[in-house]
Amino acid sequence: MNARAILPALCLCYCFTVSGCAPYPGRVAASLKGPQLRNGVVGPATETAGGSREMIVWNAPDLNNGQTWAFSPNYSQDDIDRSLNLCPPAGVLFGEWKDVEKNQSQHVAPMRLIHGWSAASQFAGSDFWGTHRYRDWNVLLVGSGGFEQFAAPANDPNFADWSEVQDLYVQNPEIGRIIEVEWDSGFFAPEMAPQLGDETVVVGRWDFDCGHESATKSGEVKTTGFRSEMHAPAILISAHITKNEPSSLQTRYKIFAGSRSGPLDTVPLLFFFQRLWGTHINQLGGQDYSIALQAPQDGWRIASCTSEEGTPPGGRSKKIETQLQPSDGGKSLTLTLLAKPFNSGARVGRSMIVNAVWVPENSPGRQGAVKCE
């Protein structure tokens, strides 16, 4: 009798213990598994200098339309209470991620869009296997303007569980709030992640991570609630300047879209059963997405461009077709992700890289239409 009761209990304890860490996917290069490039100073690489402009402009649809919640730029008790109410004590045991815009009438919260610059991009230190197929790839975003309305008070850049954040904060005490973007690497290709300093646009699920409460548990500094983040994204686009010369600019845009994001909706206490079939699906299908890709400065036109397939994610998904063509008289490229033919909950994805060469508008040469090959 005892053996019958003890053995399953021992097995369960053992499995909980060994399941502490989600693994790296086997297909990922060893060089990506360790610490990635880091530069604590947020300098020209991460913000547009004088005369420069954003390289990624979201055209349509307006994903932040009808937003029902926006954080104030600094401390507000309502903002803090929002996360504390959604993340009850021990709530992490019953679901770690809670939508910031909780709406009972909707089956899922709408996807939101944030625009920032990557201040760190690497694998998570560890992730609970019960709610992850593989270890998350984490991107740390800094930003300005509309970015702030997505960052909770707890996103102040002094959190202790990311030593990269400490480094970044000490180098940039006035940096403002930081948002994490986390994507299960079973459904995301780390090769398609932004590099340090890259301009980055993220579309996805905006939620609280109920596992990360701010401030201290002791002392008299009170909690400022839980951190908000993008977990998991559905679209991640980054722009990188590969060559910067007076006569030409070369840029690379990584575009990764995927509706799947792993078993993050799994109830940790029941993960053995739920994680087998549970995967969060972002409502990516059912509409097209249009994005303008630009040179980092005014006064440039497209000279040539190529597109290639990016590293695909793991798992099966239907491919989203794309259109890429010059627009605005050659001042930008318009990329369209053609996801309208799919159901909103379909398992769809796309991974591609666009390389563009830009020349000054007044430079000699062909002014006509450029086709991306």
Partner: protein, 273 residues
Amino acid sequence: MRVSLRIRLLGLLAVPALLLGADKLQDALAGLKSKDASTYEKAAEFLAKHPQQARDPLQKLLQQYDDKDALTRFRAAKLLGDLNDQSSAEVMKKVLFSGLETNAAVRVEIIRALAKLGRKDVIIAYSNSGLEKSATVTAAIALALQGSADEDSKAELGRLLSSTDDERVSRAAVFAISKIYKPVLENPRNAMASKSSGLSKAASSRGKLPAPPPPPSTTPDDKAGNAKAKLEPTAADQAIFAALKAKGESKNPAITKEAAALLQEISKIYKQP
């Protein structure tokens, strides 16, 4: 004979053990400088588990004002706050008042550590000194005083709010003030009945602050049990009300709204000047 032999043997064993312990401490202190997350985490864990050994070297690290080591000083301040050793508060005070710590993030962490140690008196003295010019640090000072219902903290928050145009500081101060009055607003009867000021559990809980002020006096109606009776504000309360009123008329609409809303709430329970 046997006893002395044992002592010698123990001595022989103790020396390598102590040396090993010293090595580990040095490794941990070196680990605080590491940019590798796991190395830092292991170092911090070791130091937190050995507060007696860690205290002095951490205090020394905090005073090594070299720009390259700002991350180490930041981490040292954080750990010293967690070690809960009062002697560290004096070192932090020295660092703040010396003006030699040029990194604002380190100063913010020192403020937070002082709050953890219950040394609001040092925070208030530093704030009053006028040495701090960074809005980020001043906002951290306001946040460190959140919910503190003693007269000194209230007076300082009123001063901070009335003397700044910075949005971050203003918002932090309004937030900190709202935490003082929230318990009173939620349960005014308890506040009146309390023998202390009763406005915050946090206030004076560590006995390092001046004695709490007497309970707020009330009108005669209140003593008869009339729930509508209003509390008599202290001098510090009045300073806060005046600062909130001024902010309620400021040019920044968001702060104006927050300050006016808070003042309106407070006026339900306090007599306004």
